[in-house]
C-alpha cells in the first residue's frame, strides 16, 4: 500500500471520527435527559400523567414548599396559595398557584418547574399541572392554576422536605417580535 492511499484511508477515518464526535455533542442532550431522569441531576420532574393509587403511608409526613418565581421582565403577580403543604407519601393532593396580569396587554407565560433536592424529583408525581401548558392572561385578568400531585411512597427516608418551584417566563409573541426587531436594528438588549 502506498503512503498516499494509506493517508487517504486514515483521513477518511479520522474525519468520520470528527463528524461522529460532532454528532455525539448533540447526542449529549438526550443522553443528559436520560441521565437526569436516572439520577435526578437537575431536579426536573419527569413523572406526569395519571397515577395508580396504592395506599397512603401515614407514618411519614413530608413538607412540600411551594415557590413561585418571576423570571426577568415578567410583571405578573404569581405565587402559591399555600406556601407550605404537608402531605403523606401516596396521598393525592390538590393545590394551586395564583397568577394575575397587571399590565395593560394580553400576555402568555410558561411555568417551568424545578425540584430541590434533585433526588426527590423522581418521586414527585404530577397528575395534573398548569405547567403542562402555557397560560394566556388578558390585561388585568387573574386565574387560579391547579396542581394535583402525589409523592411516591418510595421516597427515601432521609428526604423530609421537598421544594417545588415554578419559574414564570414571558413567552408572549410580541415579546419575541420586539426582540428580533432589536437584533435587526443591530442593537443589543435595551
Amino acid at each position: 500500500m502506498t503512503v498516499r492511499s494509506a493517508n487517504r484511508r486514515l483521513i477518511t477515518r479520522l474525519l468520520l471520527a470528527a463528524v461522529l464526535m460532532f454528532g455525539f455533542g448533540f447526542a449529549l442532550v438526550p443522553l443528559y435527559d436520560v441521565f437526569c431522569r436516572v439520577t435526578g441531576l437537575n431536579g426536573k420532574i419527569t413523572n406526569t400523567g395519571p397515577v395508580e393509587q396504592t395506599g397512603v403511608d401515614t407514618q411519614r409526613l413530608v413538607k412540600v414548599r411551594m415557590i413561585g418565581v418571576n423570571n426577568e421582565g415578567m410583571p405578573w403577580q404569581f405565587g402559591p396559595i399555600d406556601s407550605l403543604v404537608e402531605v403523606n407519601p401516596g396521598e393525592m393532593r390538590q393545590t394551586a398557584f395564583q397568577a394575575s396580569n397587571p399590565t395593560g396587554r394580553s400576555m402568555v407565560a410558561q411555568a417551568i418547574p424545578s425540584v430541590a433536592p434533585g433526588e426527590a424529583a423522581q418521586y414527585l408525581h404530577k397528575v395534573n399541572c398548569f405547567c403542562f401548558n402555557s397560560q394566556t392572561l388578558a390585561a388585568g385578568e387573574s386565574v387560579d392554576m391547579p396542581l394535583l400531585f402525589v409523592i411516591d411512597k418510595e421516597l427515601p427516608e432521609h428526604i423530609r422536605s421537598i421544594t417545588l418551584s415554578y419559574t414564570l417566563f414571558d413567552i408572549s409573541p410580541d415579546k419575541t417580535a420586539s426582540r428580533s426587531e432589536e437584533v435587526q436594528m443591530g442593537g443589543s438588549r435595551i
Binding site: M21, F22, G25, V29, Y32
Partner: protein
C-alpha cells in the same frame, strides 16, 4: 539510537509527494501564502502564536492595571469583562494551541525522518484559516455592544439570551479555530503513522512525538464537541431552539456539562505536548536517558481516555446531587495521581545525571517546579467540599495560570530556545536567554503566587474592582504582571537576534542531544530527509 544515512531507503516513504519540490523556498509573500513546506508552516504558526501571545498579554496587562488599586481607574466593568473573555480565548486558542502545532510542524517530520507532513496542502489551509478566525474575533471589540463579555467559558444564558450581538462572530470564529485544529490533528496523526523512516518504529518515537500523537487524537475527539456546543448556542440565539433556555424546557446547566466535556480534555491538549517537550529537554541536559519512557507513554495514552470521565469537577457548586459530587471527586483523585507522579520521572532523570543549565534546561526545571505547584492546587481543588470555598475565586485563577503560564508557556519557550539553533543555524545567546528566563521566572511567581492568597481570602474571579483587604496582593500581582509582560519583549528580541545573527551552530547543537533532528545541518535545509534515513 544509531543512525546511518543510506541512499537506497526509498522503499516506503513518500518520495512521490515531493517530485515538484527539489528546490529552495519561493521568493516574496507568495512563499508564505502558498507554502506547503512543513518548516515554513511551522514558522508561520509560531510567529502567529507569538503575535497572539503579545495581544492576549496586552489585554492581561490592561486587566492587571485596572486591578492595581481598588476603584475603577482605567476601564469600565463592561469592557473589563470583554478583556477577561478575549484574554482567555486568545491565549488558549490563539497562543498555546497554535504554538504547539507550530512546534509539531517543525519538529515531528524531522524527528521521525519524514520529508514533510503527510498532507502538505491541508497543512497550508489549516494555518491560513486561523488569522481569519482571530481577525473576526478581535474585530468584535469594535462592534456595537462590544466584544464577547461572558468569560472564555461562555456559560449560558449569559452567552445566549444576554449576549452582545457580536456573539455570532464569536461562534463562527470558534468554528473556524475548531476546523483548523481538527485538520492540524489529522495531519499530525497521518504523519506519525504513515511517514516514519524505515526502522523508526513506534517504540522508538521520541516522547514529544508520542505526546503529540495522543494530543491529536484528543483534539479530534473534543473539538467537534466544542463546535457542537457553539452550534447549539447559535441555534438558541437565532433559530428559537431551547437547548440552554429554561423557558423552552432547556437547561443552562446542560451547557456547562457539554462545555466541560470538551473543556477537561482541552486542559490535557494544552499540557501533554508540554510533557513531551520537557521529556526531550531534561534528558539532553542531564546527558542521560529519560527515566521510565515506557511508563510515560502508557500514562499519557491512558489520560486520553480517562480525561473524559472527570469533567464535572469544574462544576461542583451548580447543585449536582451528592452521588454526582462523590463520583467526580473520587474519579478525579484516582486519575490525578498516575499523571501527577510523572514529575517524579523527570526528577529521577536528573538524578545522577551530568547536569548543565543552558536556557532551555532552566525553563524546563522551572516548568517541573511550577507546574507541580499548579498540580498541588489542582489536587486541593479536587476535594469537593473544599472546592465550595475555592470555586470561582482567585485561587482557581492562580491554579490554572500556574499550569498554563509556567506550564504550557514555559515549555513552549523552552522548546523554542532548544530548537532555535536548529532552525536558524545560530547558537543561542545564553546571556540574553538567561536574563529572559530569570525575569520571567521572577515575574510569573510575583504575579500568580499572591493570587492564591487573595483567592483564599475571598476574592471572586472576573471582578474589575475589589474590597480593600485584597488591595496589597493585587498590587503585588500587578507589578509582577508588568515585569513578566515586559520581559517577554526580551524573548522577541532574542528570537529576532538569533534569526539575524549569531555564532554558527553545529548540527548537534547541544552536547547531550540525541535524535534524528540533530543529525541534519543547522540551519536545517529547506528539505530534510528527502531520502529517508535508516534507523536501527
Amino acid at each position: 539510537m544509531a543512525i546511518s544515512d543510506t541512499t537506497g531507503g526509498m522503499d516506503t516513504t513518500a518520495g512521490e509527494l515531493h517530485e515538484e519540490h527539489h528546490h529552495g523556498p519561493a521568493k516574496g509573500i507568495g512563499r508564505w501564502l502558498f507554502t506547503t513546506n512543513h518548516k515554513d508552516i511551522g514558522s508561520l504558526y509560531l510567529w502567529f502564536s507569538l503575535l497572539m501571545f503579545l495581544t492576549g498579554g496586552v489585554m492581561a496587562l490592561l486587566i492587571r492595571a485596572e486591578l492595581f488599586q481598588p476603584g475603577l481607574q482605567l476601564v469600565e466593568p463592561g469592557f473589563f469583562n470583554q478583556m477577561t473573555t478575549m484574554h482567555g480565548l486568545i491565549m488558549v486558542f490563539g497562543a498555546v494551541m497554535p504554538a504547539f502545532v507550530g512546534l509539531a510542524n517543525w519538529m515531528i517530520p524531522m524527528m521521525i525522518g519524514a520529508p514533510d507532513m503527510a498532507l502538505p496542502r491541508m497543512n497550508n489551509w489549516s494555518f491560513w484559516i486561523l488569522p481569519f478566525a482571530f481577525a473576526m474575533l478581535v474585530s468584535t471589540l469594535f462592534m456595537d455592544g462590544g466584544a464577547p463579555n461572558f468569560g472564555w467559558t461562555f456559560y449560558a444564558p449569559l452567552s445566549t439570551t444576554y449576549a452582545p450581538p457580536s456573539v455570532t462572530y464569536f461562534i463562527f470564529a470558534i468554528h473556524i479555530m475548531g476546523a483548523s485544529s481538527i485538520m492540524g490533528a489529522i495531519n499530525i496523526i497521518a504523519t506519525i503513522l504513515n511517514m516514519r523512516a524505515p526502522g523508526m518504529t513506534m517504540m522508538k518515537l521520541p516522547l514529544f512525538v508520542w505526546s503529540w500523537l495522543i494530543t491529536a487524537f484528543l483534539l479530534i475527539a473534543v473539538m467537534p464537541v466544542l463546535a457542537g456546543v457553539v452550534t447549539m448556542m447559535l441555534m438558541d440565539i437565532h433559530f428559537g431552539t431551547s437547548f440552554f433556555n429554561a423557558a423552552g424546557g432547556g437547561d443552562p446547566v446542560l451547557f456547562q456539562h457539554v462545555f466541560w466535556f470538551f473543556g477537561h480534555p482541552e486542559v490535557y491538549i494544552m499540557i501533554l505536548p508540554a510533557f513531551g517537550i520537557i521529556s526531550q529537554i531534561i534528558p539532553t541536559f542531564s546527558r542521560k536517558k529519560l527515566f521510565g519512557y515506557a511508563s510515560m507513554v502508557y500514562a499519557t495514552a491512558s489520560i486520553a481516555i480517562l480525561s473524559f470521565l472527570v469533567w464535572a469537577h469544574h462544576m461542583f457548586t451548580v447543585g449536582l446531587p451528592l452521588v454526582g459530587e462523590l463520583f467526580f471527586m473520587f474519579a478525579t483523585m484516582l486519575i490525578a495521581v498516575p499523571t501527577g507522579v510523572k514529575v517524579f520521572n523527570w526528577v529521577a532523570t536528573m538524578f545522577r545525571g551530568s547536569l548543565t543549565f543552558e536556557t532551555p534546561m532552566l525553563f524546563a526545571i522551572a516548568f517541573v517546579v511550577l507546574f507541580t505547584i499548579g498540580g498541588f492546587s489542582g489536587l486541593m481543588l479536587a476535594i469537593a467540599p473544599v472546592d465550595f470555598q475555592y470555586h470561582d475565586t482567585y485561587f482557581v485563577v492562580a491554579h490554572f495560570h500556574y499550569v498554563l503560564v509556567p506550564g504550557a508557556i514555559f515549555s513552549i519557550m523552552a522548546a523554542v530556545y532548544y530548537w532555535l539553533p536548529k532552525w536558524t543555524g545560530h547558537q543561542l545567546n545564553e546571556t540574553m536567554g538567561k536574563l529572559h528566563f530569570w525575569l520571567s521566572f521572577v515575574g510569573v511567581n510575583i504575579t500568580f503566587f499572591p493570587m492564591h492568597f487573595i483567592g483564599l481570602a475571598g476574592m471572586p474571579r472576573r471582578i474589575p474592582d475589589y474590597a480593600l483587604q485584597f488591595a496589597d496582593f493585587n498590587m503585588v500581582a500587578s507589578i509582577g504582571a508588568f515585569i513578566f509582560g515586559f520581559s517577554q519583549l526580551l524573548f522577541v528580541w532574542n528570537v529576532i537576534q538569533n534569526v539575524r545573527s549569531g555564532e554558527k551552530a553545529t548540527s548537534q547543537v547541544w552536547e547531550g542531544a540525541e535524535g534524528l533532528e540533530w543529525t541534519v545541518d543547522s540551519p536545517a535545509p529547506y528539505h530534510t530527509f528527502s531520502t529517508p534515513p535508516k534507523v536501527d
